[in-house]
Symmetry: C2
Subunit: 166 residues, 2 copies
DNA sequence: TTCGCTGCAAAGGATTTGCATTCTA
DNA sequence: TAGAATGCAAATCCTTTGCAGCGAA
């Protein structure tokens, strides 16, 4: 068994992200503003798959004046700094997640009924992807894989669905 | 070796698609209009990964009056009929391809340098995906996988890049 | 003769941008 | 104090929709 479910647990590493962000800003001649700090906080204390509107809403609980444009601009800076990562599973709006470094790369599994997103890593499939690319004459640099399915445990699925509603 | 590169070869099966489309329309009380026929033709005689604007441009060489709204509406009907398939690798605009039936399901490999899109099918990875989902408590219904890489044969890559330009 | 379809233009929704003002360093 | 960042509103871009006229069955 090589599949490993990954659950994000940011709370104990918040400081690291703030430090990493500040270093990135300094290195690039950018400034640490109250809004940027508030937005990063909003993201770090939210579920790991989040869109601009949700970030705005949460950020505004700490600073009522934050604007949507600033959220979008900050999401961009955070992505450039390697702290965030834009997920490829929603065409309608951009979804971001805390970026794991290369060693913690993961893929996504989404339940079509309840919307639960599970992150996982599977070494066997990573190797297979590399091998397939080689066979076709390509050197693999990256990939994006999303599995869609249905929770087998119907009760758990219903519960998760109910949770989303509140 | 289970990986199989899939190259689309529509030309000899155009009639089948037209027939399939007509049957779908009839079955659903929809009408076969000149525009719908022209749009399907435009798609069948184009490279297999195409967006609405490209379809419009091509369709207009056969009928100057076709409108963009009709192209979008027809792309939707063609997708519902199972003839087209919306690809998930472009967030900016919708990309469509001729849909293979379940037996011909495939994934994509895209060269980051020249933009070449290779379609392939690999039974081993399909099985692995199913198994991973099960392990995590899900019944797999669908998936989307895109590999990104670089052509190992630099000359071929350059050539392909040049082709795109004209 | 029905309604489904069409083209056009207007509307939508997410994201970006211009600009005068504010604020970090 | 310089110039980066902000909020707001306007602008973009792709896609969808409303509507009056058109045309397939």
């Amino acid at each position: 068994l090589t599949t490993k479910e990954i659950t994000s647990n940011h709370l104990n590493i918040d400081t690291d992200f703030h430090t990493k962000f500040e270093e990135f800003l300094k290195k690039n001649g950018l400034r640490l503003t109250k809004q940027r700090a508030v937005i990063l906080d909003a993201i770090l204390t939210s579920p790991n798959h989040i869109d601009a509107d949700t970030v705005l809403e949460k950020a505004r609980t700490a600073d009522k004046t934050v604007g949507l444009a600033t959220v979008y601009r900050t999401l961009q800076v955070l992505t450039e700094s390697g702290i965030l990562n834009e997920c490829a599973f929603n065409k309608e709006r951009a979804i971001f997640e805390i970026s794991q470094d290369a060693k913690h790369h993961h893929d996504h599994l989404i339940c079509e009924k309840c919307g639960t997103i599970v992150e996982f890593h599977d070494e066997e499939i990573e190797l297979l992807q590399k091998r397939i690319a080689l066979r076709l004459g390509f050197e693999l640099t990256n990939h994006n894989m999303v599995l869609y399915g249905k929770c087998i445990d119907k009760n758990k699925c219903k519960l998760r669905f109910a949770e989303k509603k509140n």
